[in-house]
């Protein structure tokens, strides 16, 4: 009752924290060696000392580049109000030079309460930009250009990049250009003129180390003492959570999960599922929450499909594999049936079914998307004559058959037969 309400409130609080990137990355901004402090140092020196800077933030997707930049910009806007204006461009939207200049002019107009005319030409927009840079330079106001998907700006003639970086070379402007990209070689994409004007500063956003992850977990998951939840519930929640976090099995689960992708975004998704699966009745987190989260991410959908197949369908899949191993690139239901008959003629198993039953099984495989028609041409023909292809790979099928609850040995051996090339059954039966 009361515990359940508290548990629900706690869940909501944790979920809202996990969805708020500035909260998450605030934990990482403490140390002086972090990307946050380096970025802040560069930008604040650009604001206070009025020197122009350009740099790149590089890292895989989901590693927090935009989040850290937003954090730094918010802090700087608080520290130096009215001295910074931010222009944001995205390579996916403003790829074209005309469009980009128009967007820059529009944002500058909005920021400085001027009227923006949509009829302005490219020339007008670029002259406006240069004039604004000069004015803001005289007024000691820094313009920060944030270019997301920086590598997409580097396609074509790179005119926008050239104009921006060239404007930063003049003494009258006070600006900073920050490019965000997930490609490590983003600065190699620049033309040599543009690259010469770019100061080769790069901040790498590498995946976090284990201490940072631990710190992050504690920062996010521990309930604060001063929230709306009662103190005793919160303390008990925190003690239970800390015991889970200190558990060796939890560390194993976390290591297993992060071994495929270790960006912070990936970790947050995992925590979200874990928090959502907290049992509201008991009211406290446990190790099982994290286990269910892991298994929900490690699903193999095609293999689970195999588990629900019938034996006949497994036979059909095995026959398709045999046909493929015999270098027969295209096959249809009739060729599969021929193969099926040849197996049963050879080995006399008990699984010999009639043709129409096999056709039903074949159609069920089509519906479940384990096989599909290889082209859409023969719409008018019946199912038996249209060529099909198999959508499940050899490994998945093998694993699925191995994990099958009651797979007959013959099917298993038939499947293995086509790859080993040795007549196993000749010795067995």
């Amino acid at each position: 009752m009361a515990v359940q309400n508290h548990a629900r409130d706690a869940q909501n609080l944790l979920r809202s924290r996990l969805c708020n990137p500035s909260f998450v990355f605030k934990a990482l901004s403490g140390s002086p060696d972090s990307n946050y402090s380096k970025l802040k140092f560069i930008l604040s020196s650009s604001v206070t000392e009025a020197c122009n800077n350009s740099l790149l933030l590089l890292g895989p997707r989901g590693s927090g580049k935009t989040a850290v930049l937003e954090l730094v910009l918010n802090d700087l806007l608080e520290e130096y109000p009215d001295m910074i204006s931010v222009i944001r461009l995205n390579g996916l939207l403003h790829n074209d030079d005309n469009c980009a200049f128009k967007e820059i002019s529009r944002q500058l107009c909005v920021e400085h309460h001027l009227l923006f005319s949509k009829m302005a030409s490219f020339d007008d927009n670029s002259q406006f930009l240069i004039a604004m840079l000069r004015e803001c330079g005289l007024a000691h106001k820094t313009i920060v250009f944030v270019l997301e998907e920086f590598d997409l700006f580097a396609q074509g003639k790179q005119r926008l990049l050239y104009s921006l970086l060239d404007a930063m070379q003049s003494i009258t402007s006070q600006a900073a250009v920050i490019g965000i990209s997930c490609r490590l070689d983003a600065d190699q994409l620049l033309e040599k003129r543009v690259r010469s004007r770019f100061s080769h500063r790069k901040l790498l956003f590498l995946p976090p180390s284990t201490e940072i992850i631990e710190r992050l977990l504690q920062h996010i998951l521990l309930l604060p003492m001063d929230s709306t939840l009662p103190n005793d519930y919160a303390t008990q929640f925190n003690t239970k959570l800390e015991s889970v976090l200190a558990d060796e099995r939890f560390k194993e689960i976390l290591k297993n999960y992060l071994s495929s992708s270790s960006t912070i975004n990936h970790l947050l998704r995992f925590l979200f599922v874990a928090v959502s699966s907290i049992d509201v009745k008991s009211g406290y987190p446990s190790l099982d929450n994290f286990k269910t989260a892991l298994s929900s991410f490690r699903r193999q959908p095609k293999q689970e499909c195999i588990k629900d197949c019938s034996i006949l369908e497994l036979y059909i899949l095995a026959c398709i594999r045999r046909l493929e191993s015999k270098e027969q690139k295209s096959y249809n239901f009739n060729s599969v049936m021929k193969e099926y008959k040849s197996i049963h003629d050879q080995f006399q198993t008990s699984d010999d079914y009639a043709r129409n039953v096999c056709l039903r099984a074949f159609e069920r495989l089509l519906q479940r998307d384990l096989i599909c028609f290889s082209d859409n041409r023969g719409q008018g023909q019946s199912v038996e004559f249209r060529p099909v292809k198999c959508l499940i790979s050899h490994f998945e099928l093998q694993e699925g058959i191995k994990a099958y609850r009651s797979c007959p040995v013959s099917c298993f051996l038939h499947y293995g037969f086509c790859y080993s090339g040795i007549s196993l059954l000749a010795g067995v039966s």
């Binding site: 140092f41 020196s45 000392e49 009025a50 020197c51 122009n52 895989p60 997707r61 009215d82 400085h112 001027l114 005319s117 009829m119 302005a120 490219f122 020339d123 007008d124 927009n125 002259q127 004039a131 604004m132 004015e135 005289l138 007024a139 106001k141 003639k157 050239y162 104009s163 060239d166 070379q169 003049s170 003494i171 997930c182 490609r183 490590l184 070689d185 190699q188 994409l189 040599k192 003129r193 010469s196 004007r197 100061s199 080769h200 500063r201 790069k202 790498l204 590498l206 995946p207 992060l258 495929s260 992708s261 270790s262 490690r298 193999q300 959908p301 095609k302 959508l391 790979s393 998945e396």
Partner: protein, 522 residues
Amino acid sequence: MPSLAVSRSVEESLTPQKRRLRSNSTAAPETPISAPTKRKSPRRCLESSPSSHPTVSTRNDSIGPVSNSSKSLAEELSEDFSKKLNWNPSDASQVSAVKEALHVSTSPPTIVCREEEQRRVFDFCKACVEKEQSGSLYVCGCPGTGKSLSMEKVSNQLIKWARDGGFEPPEVLSINCTALTSSSQIFGKIVDNGYVKVKTSGTIAPLQHLQNVYSQKQQSSSSKMLLIIVDELDYLITKDRAVLHDLFMLTTLPFSRCILIGIANAIDLADRFLPKLQSLNCKPLVVTYRAYSKDQILRILQERLMVLPHVVFHPQALELCARKVAAASGDMRKALSVCRSAVEVLEAEVRDSTNNMDSDTQGNSVVKIDHMAAALSKAFRTPVIDTIQSLPQHQQIILCSAVKFFRGGKKDTIVGELNKSYVETCKSRMIPPVGISEFLSMCRVLNDQASNITHPLTQLSFPAFFLIKTSDQNFYSLLLQGLVKLGQSRGDDKLKRVTLTVDEADINFALQGVRFFRNCLQ
């Protein structure tokens, strides 16, 4: 005393360069500039070219004996070095003064190491103005070699010389071709700026108008010469090269009064794209700006640092920087940016030591070789090795299995085959492999960090990488395009083609510390 005179003039010409703040503005500037509406009034292009700055006309240049200053410079350097004070890196104003002196946008009062080229251009322009003839000149060189900067200086010199010598000073027009939407707009810009008298407006094309004006004798004989400086000339290159031809042909018309200076990077632009001019015997004069050598970079850096009252850099640190940058590209901008980041490295070190209450901070007052080396490695490295080392385990296994797979001489394969190789590697090391959908998403992550353009050198077969690999960082970094390249496939995801684009040696080097991967890569 020559040294005192030069230093004084250096100081007083420094102050007009500093930005003058508006006295009454703290917040948003009052905007006498209009928002971008349609404007018909011509504007002086001089103000709108991004490479010039408004203090051009107000500053009195110390043109002086350019050739004599090189001798006195050496004497001065040795004198000043010994009598300068030590620099205190924790003083913020001194640090910002250093950074400003080293910033790319600070233009030095005299340009050293380009005296010869400047003299050539200046003599050419002088001859044109004296004889009231037109001419064309082509300046070429790598980026960062001081072309635009010296053209500005030459134009100022020319104006002053013409005024002193009693000639009519020419009008100067600077155009940067990246600001043009189409290449034929350049003629419109020349006409719009009011230097060429426009009798009838709007009915004839600007190019035609210019050609008409220059083919007839002028009514007023005192029309001024026009000095046109065209920056980034290769943006005007079109398929039929018409615009470029017409532009240079303007100088060949009988009554033409324009001196054309074109700036670009390609050395053979004049030969390749303007063959007709040679037949007319009016090929433009070519002045090549070579990349800076180590001594030149050193001199320029020292010249810039001379204006500061302190010793900031250890001389060996400057030499290391000059040597490295000269070996790489000879680009002055890079040298300046490396020096600035070395100052920042020192600043960070001083800040840490004051945080830790270290008592021996006295020795850290100049930028030494280790700071410069740190700054150089940051500027010249590629982040590939670090990224490979910090990848999660399964992605590293994918890279290893790709390396093993491609060892056999194949260049690319499909994702399904790579998955097979990956699963075999996992099984041999008793690690449970992930499913195909996660494998694909990992491949996509690796692809995101890679390039989509193929450098012509990467189309070679894999063993050839080892033969070409050199120790030159720039060339090597050209070969490193990223990690894995994932192709397109219309249907099945498993049929996507995948190539390894990072060098095998890099993967070897990055992962050699881990025994698991060492065994994998055997």
